[in-house]
């Protein structure tokens, strides 16, 4: 436990953390964990954050040490994509029981590691600590160390029991585990002057793949992505990269800063959301690589790709501008997305009536101000009720947020779009931004909204109903009449009540042709069974009489 609190202190003291830099010594010691309000808190725990950050490593086994709550309730709920291995999708947990709680769960953990190695033989295992084993003093570091030595495989402890803090802290604790046990432990087959690391990119919905082809074309190699579509070996070799980009998130800033200190890998914070941000990020990567010795023509390649892609994207967005004119967006999301998405939306002519800055840093806020001018509606914290009111009063035409607040919008009959982790579309890069506009357009202009916003006719006051009833009669719409050819066709195609092969068209055609009218003769002519025909004749309701007829 003491080593864990030391790690947490370390994380809080991280040089790159802009929040901390502005604090006094005493404040800094306290750390960032805001005291959560019992009965008024929402959001995941540190374990959640650590798992989110590391699970996109696709070829390793992720083993959760704890009772069933932590993994059983949460597994299989994120859509990172993998271009190869899929072990990350298999869920492993020790599912501690009462006896483990009383006598300690270390033995079970060790056995679980053994079972995984015997059956799956992954390149590494990440072991996540959760609250209950942390409380009873299970030393996962020691178990992992023993197991690693015994099985000759990296077994990496991720010390992230949920109660130490927020999801955000969990991201950083995951980063600490990588720094301590993974990064720099293996060597790549070869290195190039074009190698970069992407840090804090999880390849949700396969977003990374909207960027990778561009980098490929320019000639830049992603040596390691931490952790989207990542493999253990790549992460272990990532210390050989020439530059790094923190992708749209401060979640793992500690990894970037520490790697700069340790290995001299410069990094910058960028975003692939929005056209200009994407171009900017590509240029920055190229510039950094050139500064570290890559040939100058890398910039020309980059500019060529940027120019071509930008032109395409702008042209694609143009068609939305008239449709988006005057449309207002409420943006409820955390951190950097609060500005990187703002820029993207403004590019298409949408007006932003508010953006939440609950999880944003002062840096983020400054950027919002730059983008939106001084009357920027930065919302510190919006209760669902306020949100609902705002939407009901039509202060916004659409809400963009994470999945948990979607119902506030939907139940107010306001279009909503998911831009957080559970979304099923990829919005990154030049292609992604056009996709985002398409989705917004689809949501805004769905004809359904008009019907939904209409009250039920019987809820309209008596008076107006009365007036309507006395008013001029409405002429029925032409399209509403049944199409007589179609209706006949349908009637003929109908099966008789219980014969499998005979439909009404057969009966209709054959009976006149043969002139038969006794049931048995009819049955013979139409190949239906006699009982069946008798009933047709009598026009009694269908009833299965025997299994044979009813069959099929």
């Amino acid at each position: 436990m003491s080593s864990l609190s030391a790690t947490i202190q370390d994380v809080f003291n991280a040089a790159g953390c802009p929040k901390n830099a502005n604090k006094s010594e005493a404040e800094r010691k306290k750390g960032c964990t805001k005291q959560l309000q019992p009965g008024g808190a929402a959001g995941g725990c540190s374990f959640d954050g650590a798992k989110i950050a590391l699970q996109p490593f696709t070829d390793v086994a992720h083993l959760v040490h704890g009772p069933i709550a932590c993994e059983g309730n949460s597994w299989d709920n994120r859509g990172s994509a993998s271009s190869g291995p899929d072990l990350w999708r298999t869920s492993f947990t020790t599912d501690m029981n009462e006896i483990d709680v009383v006598f300690g769960g270390e033995k079970r953990l060790y056995k679980a590691i053994k079972e995984i190695i015997e059956r799956y033989d992954p390149p590494a295992i990440f072991v996540y600590q959760t609250c209950v084993p942390a409380m009873i003093g299970d030393d996962i570091n020691a178990v992992c160390k023993i197991a690693a030595a015994k099985f000759g495989k990296p077994v990496i402890p991720v010390n992230s029991p949920g109660f130490v803090g927020s999801k955000n802290l969990g991201n950083k604790l995951a980063g600490e585990a990588l720094l301590e046990y993974v990064i720099g432990t293996q060597e790549p087959d070869y290195i190039t002057p074009y190698d970069i690391n992407l840090i804090g990119e999880y390849n949700l919905s396969g977003e990374l793949w909207q960027i990778k082809p561009l980098l490929d074309e320019i000639g830049i190699r992603i040596l390691s992505c931490i952790s989207g579509d990542g493999k253990y070996h790549e992460a272990a070799c990532s210390h050989r990269a020439r530059a790094a980009m923190m992708v749209c998130s401060r979640a793992m800033i500690n990894v970037a800063t520490r790697m700069k200190e340790r290995y001299g890998i410069p990094f910058f914070e960028g975003s692939f959301y929005g056209i200009q941000d994407t171009s900017e990020a590509l240029r920055k990567i190229a510039r950094m690589l050139i500064e570290r010795g890559a040939p100058r023509h890398l910039m020309e390649c980059t500019e060529a790709v940027v120019a071509r892609e930008e032109a395409k994207a702008w042209a694609a967005i143009e068609r939305f501008r008239p449709r988006f004119a005057g449309k207002k967006v409420l943006l409820v999301t955390g951190g950097v997305k609060s500005w990187s998405v703002v820029a993207a939306l403004q590019e298409a002519g949408l007006e932003i009536v508010g953006t939440s800055v609950k999880k944003s840093t002062s840096d983020d806020k400054q950027r919002i101000q730059q983008l939106m001018g001084h009357d920027a509606h930065m919302i510190e914290d919006l209760t669902p009720r306020e949100m609902y009111k705002m939407l009901r009063e039509a202060k916004a035409d659409i809400m963009l947020s994470g999945g948990k607040s979607q119902f506030v919008a939907l139940k107010a009959a306001v279009p909503w779009l998911d831009i957080n982790q559970e979304r099923c579309h990829a919005y990154m890069g030049y292609v992604g931004i056009v996709k985002l506009m398409e989705e917004i357009d689809k949501a805004l202009y769905n004809p359904m909204w008009d019907q939904l916003r209409m009250p039920a006719p019987w809820d309209v006051t008596e008076v107006t109903r009365h007036a309507k009833a006395l008013g001029p009669m409405e002429v029925p719409v032409a399209g509403g009449r049944p199409n007589s050819v179609g209706a006949e066709k349908a009637a003929r195609a109908k099966r008789t009540h219980s014969c499998s092969t005979v439909d009404f068209s057969i009966i209709n055609d054959r009976i006149p042709a043969h002139g038969s009218n006794a049931p048995d003769a009819m049955a013979h002519d139409t190949e239906a069974s006699a009982a069946c025909m008798r009933r047709t004749e009598e026009n009694t309701p269908a009833q299965p009489t025997s299994a044979l007829q009813a069959a099929e």
Binding site: P38, G39, A41, C45, A69, E71, T93, D95, C131, V164
Partner: protein, 460 residues
């Protein structure tokens, strides 16, 4: 008679089980104006919330006492107190339901004592409904959490009545298991009302999680049974419990109010529904309405139509005990073989599952068994889809959570109609799978290797 065994792996692979506290919260979600509260760190609540939202596609109220590392060590009185005060002030619920978690149970927080103290210190909470249930994560499963919580609701919220007190002969209490959907409860309500019986469902998730648009925005549940109605349940003539898990709550009701109960272990299938409808006819004194005679005929016909496809299937099913018993029984009665059965927790019905063996284990066990025994149909909650894909067999989603298909809350398996829906859905799935993947070709008739391996074309 099935032999119940326990998986002896140290590592659970692809859990089938979910934790007990959120099973408890689920029960509280069936009360009107409720705020379920998990006593533990915030992550436990957050995971539960996400799970419910993914399944029901509805806003779900759920709160946490937000235990930190420090408060866990010192004990959680202050957090429980703060949480209750905050919720009471902010969202004005009609009831707060509290479940403990593994963390607070490991520490040993005595929440009942906390509540007594809170009531003492805050007189305005003296009469406010607070129900606490102990539900550690390291024991039992989702279904147990529901079971314990409903039983506790009965003990705390139902006014005790003298056994000899006069009763309302057309009122019944219905205690549904957690395997029933809002759609199931709606169907049952219709059935009861057709017999002129007024049912009180405890809990009633059909009022709160059936996906309607409320007139007002609330941060608690938007419907469900009210505390006032629960209090009067002692006046009913009968208690009907559905699913073996509800025995405990039904017994609690009888002990408290003298209301006799009848337990229906399942309401899926022809015979169980015959018994159910007969019972309703008996207690209401009404003859069986035409509608149900007709529905019975339709189910019989559906059974005839579907048995060609379902019979002979080697079924792999993973579900909580009552759902396992429900679905496996009806498919067994349709001629399928329950070849691999996995469940989450112990229950008296497991022995009666029509299989050689029932394993208390995980989806990893189910996949292994299904593979070894060559099952050709897999049934479980949505997490089983990966296993079915690997085994290349059709997959039917049943239970909780179903997060990758819509309308989970409206699916139905009770009554004649629900049973009919279930077997049609299943048979259609099998037909589609055969059309897409299993049409006989010359190659399938060839012998492979030394042994004769012939796949004959299937019936129809």
């Amino acid at each position: 008679m099935a032999i119940v065994t326990c998986s002896d792996k140290a590592c659970t692979i692809n859990p089938l089980k979910m934790s007990q506290p959120i099973g408890g919260s689920f029960a509280f979600l069936g009360l009107r104006g409720a705020m379920p509260l998990l006593h533990g760190p915030q992550g436990c609540t957050s995971f539960g919330l996400t799970l419910f939202v993914r399944h029901f596609k509805e806003a779900v109220p759920l709160q946490t006492t937000a235990m930190s590392e420090v408060s866990t060590v010192l004990g959680g009185y202050e957090n429980v107190e703060q949480a209750i005060l905050n919720i009471y002030k902010r969202v004005k619920p009609e009831i707060i339901g509290i479940n403990s978690t593994g963390v607070t149970e490991t520490k040993g927080d005595d929440v009942e004592a906390f509540i007594r103290l809170i009531r003492q210190n805050h007189p305005h909470l003296k009469k406010f409904p607070l129900v606490y249930v102990s539900t550690p994560d390291f024991k039992d499963a989702f279904q147990d959490g529901w079971e314990k919580t409903v039983a506790r609701m009965v003990e705390v919220l139902v006014d005790s009545v003298d056994a000899a007190a006069p009763r309302d002969s057309l009122r019944v209490n219905v205690l549904p298991g957690c395997h029933l959907t809002p759609g199931d409860l709606d169907e049952l309500r219709t059935i009861f009302e057709d017999f002129g019986i007024r049912p009180s469902f405890l809990p009633d998730i059909s009022g709160s999680l059936d996906g309607h648009i409320p007139d007002e925005f609330t941060q608690t549940t938007i419907g469900g049974i009210g505390v006032d109605e629960i209090a009067t349940m002692g006046q009913a003539a009968w208690t009907i419990a559905i699913g073996a898990q509800m025995r405990r709550a039904a017994e609690a009701m009888q002990a408290r109010t003298g209301v006799p109960f009848r337990l229906f272990e399942r309401l899926c299938g022809l015979v169980p529904n015959d018994e159910f409808i007969t019972f309703l006819s008996d207690i209401s004194g009404k003859s069986v309405p035409k509608r149900y005679r007709r529905q019975r005929g339709q189910l019989a016909d559906a059974m005839l139509d579907t048995h060609f496809h379902i019979a002979g299937r080697k079924l792999a099913i993973g579900a909580e005990p009552d759902l396992l018993f429900d679905i496996s029984s009806v498919l067994y009665e349709m001629g399928a073989q329950v070849t691999a059965a996995v469940t989450t927790t112990a229950s008296p019905v497991l022995e009666r599952v029509k299989a050689k063996e029932v394993v208390i284990g995980d989806l990893g066990d189910l996949e292994d068994l299904a593979k070894a025994r060559q099952c050709d149909l897999l049934i479980s909650h949505s997490h089983g889809r990966q296993a079915a894909a690997r085994l290349d067999i059709p997959f039917y989603r049943a239970g909780f959570p179903i997060f990758d298909r819509l309308g989970a809350g409206h699916r139905m398996s009770v009554g004649y109609r629900g049973t009919r829906e279930l077997i049609f859905d299943l048979a259609n799935l099998i037909i589609a799978d055969r059309e897409d993947n299993r049409q006989p070709t010359p190659a399938t008739w060839r012998t492979v290797g030394a042994g004769l391996h012939v796949v004959p074309p299937q019936l129809n």
